[in-house]
């Protein structure tokens, strides 16, 4: 069913700017991928994240991998030089690299580094890579400036001076102006906000771990995964919201 939808989308003439509806569909499918993964885990294999974290996380990343890399590759930046399959390949390459970065980050922050936790850490970091690095890899490839723009807002200083011109605007519009100046294209929102949401969610998700509630879900990486998923979903909603408001402003 997903494949069919992809084909439908591919049939449409792809433009650089994504419409509202398209973004909605993309986000819905990524959310749907998560839901399907959980459904399969629960109903087919009858496992849950708490009972079999490693297996469930593997299911999640397999389904998300299909949804995310295939979808985001359509919105690749350099349409002329890069084919669809090359973008998919970039995304697939970005997956282990992103997993490595995420795993290193988690271990530095105190995730257990023992051998018995290795499968869980690998699966978790693959999921995190799909939330953060892989879509960006599909879209941007090796364009360092784009990466910097997405993950570090380095263009900030150049836009600060623009604030003076719009100082008269109301406060809410100011925020929108920041948003629109920093992230130029809709696809930027779609990558940046969920990725940051997932990382921040995972960070907050780690807080219950040292508590002595003695619940099974306090184990690494269960509550961190829950936090990441919640953060990712919040990021999706936020990115949709931003796009709606931005188009509204543009319309004005």
């Amino acid at each position: 069913m997903k494949q069919k939808k992809n084909k439908e989308m591919a049939a449409k003439p792809s433009s650089k700017a994504i419409s509202k509806a398209e973004a909605l569909v993309v986000h819905l499918i990524s959310g749907f991928g998560l839901a399907v993964a959980f459904w399969v885990a629960h109903n087919v294999h009858s496992i849950s994240l708490t009972s079999h974290p490693s297996l469930t996380l593997r299911l999640i990343w397999v389904f998300e991998c299909l949804a995310v890399i295939l979808l985001y590759s359509r919105y690749r930046k350099d349409h002329e030089r890069c084919s669809y399959f090359k973008a998919v390949g970039r995304g697939l390459l970005g997956l282990p690299a992103g997993a490595l970065i995420n795993a290193l980050g988690a271990i530095v922050l105190g995730a257990p580094a023992g051998i018995q936790y290795l499968p869980r850490t690998i699966n978790w970091s693959l999921v995190m890579a799909l939330f953060t690095i892989a879509p960006a890899a599909s879209v941007f490839g090796s364009s360092w400036t784009d990466w910097q723009r997405i993950f570090a807002f380095t263009k900030q200083s150049t836009y600060i001076l623009k604030f003076d011109s719009i100082r008269e605007c109301r406060c809410s519009k100011l925020i929108l102006a920041i948003g629109s100046t920093l992230l130029i294209e809709p696809v930027d929102y779609m990558i940046c906000l969920p990725a940051h949401g997932a990382v921040i969610g995972a960070w907050f998700g780690a807080f219950p771990m040292p508590l002595d509630w003695e619940r099974p879900w306090q184990e690494w990486p269960i509550c961190v995964s829950y936090g990441a998923i919640v953060g990712y979903l919040v990021g999706i909603v936020a990115s949709l919201g931003f796009m709606l408001v931005r188009q509204h402003v543009k319309g004005d």
């Binding site: 530095v108 807002f153 380095t154 600060i160 508590l211 002595d212």
Partner: protein, 915 residues
């Protein structure tokens, strides 16, 4: 003209700090109220009504104990039913484990663990109570509450470690006055509380929490002897083992059932020997089994949860007509009720500060008027205490014997102020009693209503008094908090004004508008951390596991700094120094590598000690190293010492100061470092091995360091630069010498931790020095502070008192084994030779085949339930035990080793009170 002059700033700062301190002290005094207690001891006046206190028998103190005893007997009109008391205190036993909860019996495993006690309860030969203990649930305040019936202030916890003799009126003092002979076996807290009261005693220490076996054996081994003798009237047994079991493994520890079985054996032995065996004319023995407090699921105590306050009171030997198991285990009393009950049972005055109420179930054997008398005595005592607390209370205004002729008077409804209420309740009871006594044929109904009236008064008074003992004066607390808030406001406004001044000045000097207006992520994060810390203090497990938070926060900040570095590789301040792209690359590389070094070493530090309270058993690097063998630990110590030395020297000479002064400093550092090294090597067997290591490691660390750091060009010889250099020099010397000192003082396993901490500090310094103006200084301070806190926990510390590292003291000082570590009967075969001249040197590794390195490793062996070949508790008393690196010196002992067992042939000083 700036608003903030120097004098104003100083004055306001001083005022703010002073107000803060005053507010804090007011708050502390309010939060830990010290309640005044009544001085003196109850005497014969406690057998008279409080209204006729005026006649006081002054000659009472001259009376012989036996005369005093008969005087009390005569005055009270109650013959003591028992004349021997055995008080068995089981430290930390929750009543739930013996009596069950909510009327349900305890689990089957626990029932099977205490078969004898269960049978006693089932046959009605014992009455069990859930005795509700008042917080703080630690041993000393609870013992005080049991013997004096008073509820102390919360500050008693602080005194728990330095117990002072108990001066308030208490049961033991009263028993001593009537000439009882007392024997104490068990926790030495009793000895500190009541010095000189005991005929014989054998104290054990509760310091070695990991010992669960010998601490109880040392109590039980005297038991047979004591039970066979009859020269004592009061025997106290205080078993600590169960509390230790709880501290090690919690309620569900595997050691719990055997420990309960052991306690049951003790109860059985006492019951068989002294209660069942006695003849009727010889008087009776009462066995009271109590626990001072309960424990939580994880075995801790101190708080006020149900699990912790649910302590046990079990009266064995009381004639009881209730044989229903449910009824005899479902009673709930207060722990303070034990004191008046025991006082009345044994015919001594109730201690003056008692707030407890006698337990009616125990007095079932007495006749009705004797029970009434007991109630009256308890009421008089409480009324006296009330009169002392409420100065105006005399109850004289109430018609004591009004309505004399009116036989069926109505009980007044009691309401109104506290004083009126107490008086009214008391008068009601007294009147009812009078009317009951005056009747020729006493009816059951009158008796019951009198008892009910007395209990109403007693319960109300007891509740009010115990609340008063723990009440906090709200007004004082409010004033304290308000003062602290005020000082906070003053200091914050000062800070605000200073910032404004600085900002204005800066604005006039440079045009930095664009820089200062942006808030960076790391700065926001540092402020957020303050909030996170405040919130985390609300959860007890977050306090217990604080090391996770600090590591998490420190690494997150460093990750944010890493992100910032990637974002703009060169610091803004460095741009004027290095304009070429090559220099920029170098700088960005330096910043990246130094921050990664901080991150990596931070992670290793986190894994070094598991720390905390709940997950200490998880594997960590230090445990792994200790398992790998002592040689490895030793070599790590040497390597880390060398690393510290080479690092410090490198950093010192790297900057190429053209000063002979630096050479001198470097030389002195080298010398002291070599001294430390020599200290380490002294006990090392394999010297060639050390030489090999030293050469290789020296070179390695040199290379490593040279690659990561870049000489900071000193551009000119301005005075400011000189000053900066010398400040840097002083600071660095301070850090490096401190590291050397810590290498000496810390445990061997921690030596690598110190190197890693040094590396972290160095790398952070490098990072921040290359960041220049780009980094706000308070972020730097926060980052270093986070590193410091994480490092504190990385050394194996935690917020639990149990992890205070005294191993350093054990290594370099003398351990004096005090009383309580006596030779157990098993090793009595050892012949006693008094040879004070000879010292025994036990090699801890090598020839004897025993590898014991520190005192704590000796205790580890006991905790692991191995058969300890050598342990502190089996040593002779008054033997000075000194642990050196490879040797344990026993002052004045002869020993020999055979088949990897050590035999003590003689002890230095003979036991004075040896049996």
């Amino acid at each position: 003209m700036p608003w903030l002059t120097c004098t104003k700033l100083t004055l306001f700062t001083i005022a703010g700090v002073a107000i803060q301190m005053v507010g804090l002290s007011i708050f502390v005094f309010g939060f830990f109220p010290v309640k005044p207690t009544l001085p003196g001891h109850s005497g014969s006046e406690s057998f008279r009504a409080p209204q006729c206190d005026l006649v006081r028998n002054e000659s009472e103190s001259d009376l012989h104990p036996h005369q005093l005893r008969s005087l009390y007997k005569e005055l009270s009109g109650m013959p003591p039913a028992f004349d021997q008391l055995i008080l068995m205190v089981i430290d930390g036993l929750p009543a739930e484990l013996v009596l069950g909860k909510d009327g349900k019996p305890p689990s089957k495993a626990l029932m099977e663990a205490m078969p004898y006690t269960r049978s006693l309860l089932a046959n009605g030969m014992a009455i069990g109570f859930h005795a509700k203990a008042a917080p703080p649930t630690v041993t000393m305040p609870r013992l005080k509450a049991m013997v004096s019936g008073a509820i102390g202030g919360f500050l008693d916890v602080a005194m728990n470690f330095n117990t002072q003799a108990m001066l308030d009126d208490n049961l033991l003092g009263q028993f001593f006055k009537i000439g009882w002979k007392m024997v104490m076996l068990g926790d030495e807290t009793w000895l500190k509380l009541f010095p000189g009261l005991f005929l014989r005693h054998d104290g054990v220490s509760s310091f070695f929490v990991k010992d669960t076996v010998h601490v109880d054996q040392n109590v039980s081994r005297h038991l047979g002897y004591e039970l066979s003798r009859d020269d004592w009237d009061f025997l106290i047994l205080h078993y600590l083992g169960l509390d230790h079991v709880g501290h090690i493994g919690g309620r569900n520890s595997a050691l719990m059932a055997p420990k309960l079985r052991e306690m049951d054996e003790v109860v059985k032995m006492i019951h068989m020997n002294s209660i069942l065996n006695q003849k009727n004319d010889e008087g009776q023995t009462l066995l009271v089994v109590v626990s001072d407090h309960g424990m939580t699921e994880s075995g801790n105590h101190g708080g006020s949860s149900y699990e912790e306050t649910d302590s046990l009171a079990l009266f064995i030997g009381v004639k009881n007509n209730i044989s229903d198991d449910f009824l005899s285990t479902h009673n709930i009393i207060h722990q303070v009720d034990i004191a008046p009950t025991l006082a009345l049972l044994f015919g001594v005055p109730i201690p003056k500060n008692n707030v407890g109420v006698l337990m009616a179930e125990i007095f079932g054997y007495l006749s009705e008027d004797q029970q009434m008398k007991a109630l009256e005595l308890n009421s008089w005592q409480l009324l006296r205490l009330l009169q002392a607390q409420i100065p105006g209370l005399s109850c004289r205004n109430y018609p004591r014997d009004g309505l004399r002729d009116d036989q069926d008077f109505r009980i007044a409804k009691c309401s109104g102020s506290m004083e009126a209420m107490f008086c009214c309740l008391y008068t009601n009871a007294a009147l009812l009693q009078k009317s009951w006594m005056s009747k020729e044929i006493s009816s059951r109904e009158d008796y019951t209503s009198t008892v009910v009236a007395y209990y109403e008064f007693l319960r109300t008074a007891s509740e009010w008094l115990s609340h008063r003992a723990t009440d906090k004066p709200v007004r004082l607390l409010t004033v304290g908090i308000a003062a602290m808030l005020l000082s906070c406001l003053i200091l914050l406004s000062l800070l605000f004004h200073t910032c404004k001044e600085v900002y204005l000045r800066e604005q006039s000097l440079f045009d930095l508008e664009s820089i200062k207006q942006t808030w960076y992520l790391d700065e926001t994060f540092v402020l957020g951390v303050v909030l996170i810390l405040i919130v985390s203090m609300a959860s007890s497990s977050m306090v217990e596991e604080e090391q996770y938070i600090w590591h998490f926060v420190a690494s997150t900040l460093n990750l944010l700094l890493l992100r910032k570095t990637i974002k703009c590789p060169t610091g803004a301040g460095a741009q004027d120094l290095h304009s070429s792209s090559k220099g920029k690359n170098k700088i960005s590389f330096c910043r990246l590598s130094s921050i990664s070094v901080v991150l990596i070493s931070g992670r290793i530090l986190r894994g070094w000690h598991q720390g905390g309270v709940n997950w200490t058993n998880l594997p960590d690097i230090s445990k792994w190293l200790e398992q790998a063998g002592t040689d490895n630990v030793k070599s790590i110590q040497l390597v880390s010492c060398l690393l510290v030395m080479s690092l410090s020297l490198c950093v010192l000479f790297l900057f190429g100061f053209n000063m002979k002064f630096v050479l001198v400093i470097g030389f002195s550092f080298l010398m002291s470092g070599l001294l430390v090294l020599q200290h380490f090597v002294k006990h090392q067997d394999a010297l060639p091995w050390f030489v090999r290591f030293s050469t290789s490691e020296m070179g390695l660390s040199h290379d490593l360091y040279m690659s990561t750091s870049v000489p900071n060009e000193v551009q000119n010889n301005m005075l400011l630069v000189k000053l900066r250099e010398s400040l840097y020099l002083v600071g660095w010397e301070y850090i490096s010498f401190w590291c050397l000192l810590q290498l000496l003082l810390q445990q061997t396993i921690n030596s690598m931790t110190i190197v890693l901490l040094l590396v972290q500090i160095l790398a952070s310094m490098l990072y921040f020095s290359y960041s220049g103006l780009h980094q706000k200084q308070w972020v730097e301070i926060a980052a270093l502070y986070f590193l410091g806190m994480a490092g504190h926990f990385a050394l194996g510390n935690s917020n639990s008192l149990a992890t205070i590292d005294v191993a350093g003291a054990f290594m370099h000082g003398d351990v004096c084994l005090c009383e309580g570590h006596k030779l157990s009967p098993i090793s009595r075969e050892c012949r006693f030779h008094t040879t004070p001249q000879t010292d025994a040197w036990l090699p801890l590794s090598g020839s004897a085949g025993v590898e014991l390195h520190f005192a704590n490793s000796i205790h580890h062996r006991i905790a692991d339930n191995e058969e300890p070949s050598f342990c502190l508790e089996r040593l002779f008393p008054k033997v000075h035990l000194c642990l050196y690196h490879n040797y344990m010196r026993l002052h004045g002992c002869i020993c020999s080793s055979y088949n990897s067992d050590i035999y003590l042939l003689g002890a230095g000083v003979e036991e004075k009170d040896a049996i």
